[in-house]
């Protein structure tokens, strides 16, 4: 996927002016937020589960090499194959290689953020394969030729009318106008594809080291049809998605759906362990897992290791007021919202993503809902720190900070400057109590008045009173 993060501001402003987007986002996010809140309130164990989930993830990261090796052996023992990809290109080549060997034509896909991350669809299509996204949301945006705008609900930015338009154009009429009819139409169209598919590609929510199983969690069942009916099943997953045992799986199943969509559980949780076995009448003949590093191992042991705990639930974006205002596309890459504002700079570099860590009020709501307690605001601040150190924060900001520091380091000067400002601003405001325009604070006064000072500073009034 191309990176359009450098155009964050521009895209954010366009998004803000889009009433359809506002309508779509507003409804959907409220649903997620409210349903999660209800479930969490009803579950006294929830906070303990979050602590434990954080600890298990940390344990895995500290021993990642071991668990990856165990997973590899267990998959092999079950008759599957594990492929290791250092970067996006290697991941694409591995998958292209498999598709070529089995002479694939149609490839179905369950939702996989890693495949978006490594830009898989474009590579497959370039080789002439027919690639069909089967998650309804992914299917909608594939028709719209857009990237996902949310990691759980990729088409959250689309209204029903827009989906009707897309389906009408893609499937021919008659135009369907109810959600029920739209879903049925997609079901019929996609049914054929599952049965035709040579290769089915899915993501992997969890990779179980103990058993060599890869796990997907879905509501639609599309992932299951994808991986059951294709001749070859390929799982794409980040190396950090390992969990040691089935006991750990239960822990994550208890928090994932509740955090993601506000459901007690999603409809389907499937553990895939190897290919079709003797006597089986269905299931894929080959089972492959592509373990993708793509920068993850470099995050280990450093300031951003905590980010590797992420289970891609989307709660942080559901609760982020900035995401809620601008939607997912403004972020400009695969991962939007708070987790994306941390991951994108780490994956694609600080230079192309300068806005992402800054377009945040550090209000902390994301951290307060993150099921694995990732300190997202702290990580965003750390990215700002790295921008500052590398000298790529905006020059205006650097100059302003310099002045602020110079003054604030000198209490005498600071008090003097404040006294001056209190009088000047008060004078400018007259008896209005506020200023409508202030040349050096136009970012403020473009939208708001500036409440005027009372005329004297607190420190001078206090000390005048004391003496």
């Amino acid at each position: 996927m191309d990176v359009s993060s450098p155009r964050f501001k521009e895209k954010a402003v366009i998004a803000l002016a889009d009433p359809t987007l506002r309508q779509a986002l507003g409804q959907s996010r409220k649903g997620f937020v409210n349903k999660r809140a209800e479930l969490v309130a009803a579950l006294p164990e929830f906070e303990a589960l979050r602590d434990q989930a954080r600890d298990v993830k940390n344990h895995v990261l500290e021993n990642l090499d071991h668990y990856l090796e165990r997973f590899d052996s267990a998959v092999t023992a079950a008759g599957g194959h594990v492929h290791w990809a250092r970067d996006a290109e290697e991941a694409r080549n591995i998958i292209l290689g498999i598709c070529e060997r089995v002479q694939a034509r149609t490839i179905t896909k369950g939702k996989s953020m890693v495949s978006e991350e490594v830009n898989l669809n474009a590579a497959l299509e370039k080789r002439g394969y027919t690639v069909v996204e089967t998650d309804l949301g992914e299917y909608i945006i594939q028709l719209a030729k857009e990237p996902p705008s949310h990691i759980i609900a990729p088409a959250i930015h689309k209204t029903k009318e827009q989906v009707s338009d897309l389906f009408e154009a893609a499937h021919g009429g008659p135009r369907k106008t109810t959600v029920a009819d739209l879903v049925t139409e997609a079901r019929l169209v996609l049914r054929d594809k599952y049965f035709k598919a040579d290769v089915g590609i899915t993501g992997g929510n969890y990779l179980v080291a103990e058993t060599g199983s890869s796990i997907i969690v879905t509501n639609e069942g599309n992932g299951d049809l994808t991986q059951t009916l294709a001749k070859v099943h390929i799982v794409t997953s980040g190396i950090e998605r390992i969990v040691p045992t089935l006991e750990d799986v239960s822990l994550f199943l208890r928090i994932l759906a509740r955090s993601a969509t506000g459901q007690e559980t999603e409809t389907y949780t499937t553990l895939s362990t190897g290919p079709r076995r003797p006597g089986d009448v269905d299931g894929p003949e080959e089972f492959h897992v592509v373990l993708v590093d793509n920068g993850r191992s470099k995050m280990l042991g450093g300031k951003f290791q905590d980010m590797l705990r992420c289970i891609r639930c989307g709660a942080c974006m559901n609760h982020c007021p900035v995401y809620g205002a601008v939607g997912g596309h403004a972020y400009g890459w695969v991962y939007p919202g708070p987790m994306g504002s941390v991951l994108t700079p780490l994956f694609v570099g600080l230079d192309a993503t300068r806005d992402l860590p800054n377009a945040c009020t550090l209000n902390g709501r994301c951290q307060s809902v993150c099921p694995v307690r990732i300190p997202l605001p702290e990580l965003l601040r750390e990215l700002r720190h790295q921008q500052h150190q590398r000298g790529i924060s905006p020059p205006v900001q650097r100059r302003a900070l310099g002045v602020w520091r110079f003054v604030a380091e000198r209490p005498g000067l600071y008090q003097f400057a404040n006294r001056l400002a209190a009088r000047a601003l008060k004078g400018l405001s007259g008896r209005n109590g506020r200023l409508r325009h202030l040349p050096f604070a136009s970012g403020w006064t473009a939208l708001r008045d500036l409440p005027a000072p009372e005329g004297k500073t607190f420190l001078e009034l206090w000390h005048a009173r004391q003496t």
């Binding site: 059951t228 299931g283 042991g301």
Partner: protein, 219 residues
């Protein structure tokens, strides 16, 4: 690619500031069997908890007096939904006394299949879900392709937590099956304006035949 494998492992170890784990350390990790917090399920009646939760997600449940009553219950469901007298019926259930004219085959389920009847490994009371283990006796297509999925669940097979289901899974003769499906209701989607719609890709209807007679109910 083997060199990528070692490169990634090396990079991980470098980042963690250590070499490969010692055998003793590795063995300790392999022996790890964590006891994580669970969700309190102190309802004495696991069956009731299972049913309430399963139904809360639009799953349906019919109570059946015994294994012998399964064919009649299936037929009643079929007629109520106006379905033809045909189904993919998993092998362990094939020997039941199916009504005359009812055509059944053991799978796999093809594109035209409208109904399937399968056993399951267990019910999980914690969230009201079913766990199905694939194999010649329980082909996976039966769980996802037909519009109507009927699952036979002996009441005595409802366990409390996920962990109890894992114990059953690990005890299977071949260890974990190729596919382990935890099914919590009919297929659904909220991808259009978060409006819940059943039957997105998988079954529109998942119907549990809850068999009361626990002793004899091991189809």
């Amino acid at each position: 690619m083997p060199e990528s494998r070692s490169a990634i492992l090396q990079q991980i170890r470098a980042a963690l500031g250590r070499g490969p784990l010692s055998d003793a350390a590795a063995a300790a990790l392999d022996a790890r069997r964590p006891a994580h917090p669970r969700i309190a399920v102190d309802d004495d009646d696991l069956v009731a908890r299972f049913v309430t939760r399963f139904e809360s997600r639009s799953g349906t449940v019919a109570r059946v007096s015994g294994v012998d009553a399964i064919p009649a219950a299936v037929d009643a469901y079929r007629q109520a939904h106006g379905l033809p007298p045909r189904a993919a019926v998993a092998r362990p259930l094939a020997g039941l006394a199916w009504p005359a004219g009812f055509i059944h085959h053991p799978g796999p389920a093809g594109q035209d299949e409208q109904m399937s009847v399968t056993p399951c490994l267990a019910g999980i009371a914690e969230i009201g879900s079913l766990i199905l283990a694939s194999g010649p006796d329980s082909p996976t297509t039966l769980n996802f392709v037909p519009d109507h999925h009927l699952i036979v669940l002996p009441a005595g097979r409802i366990v409390r937590h996920f962990e109890d289901a894992w114990t059953l899974l690990r005890a299977l003769p071949g260890g974990l099956p190729r596919a382990t499906n935890i099914i919590s209701g009919p297929s659904r989607t909220g991808d259009v304006e978060l409006t819940i719609q059943l039957g997105a890709h998988g079954p529109r209807s998942v119907h549990v035949l809850l068999v009361a007679d626990a002793d004899r109910a091991t189809p």
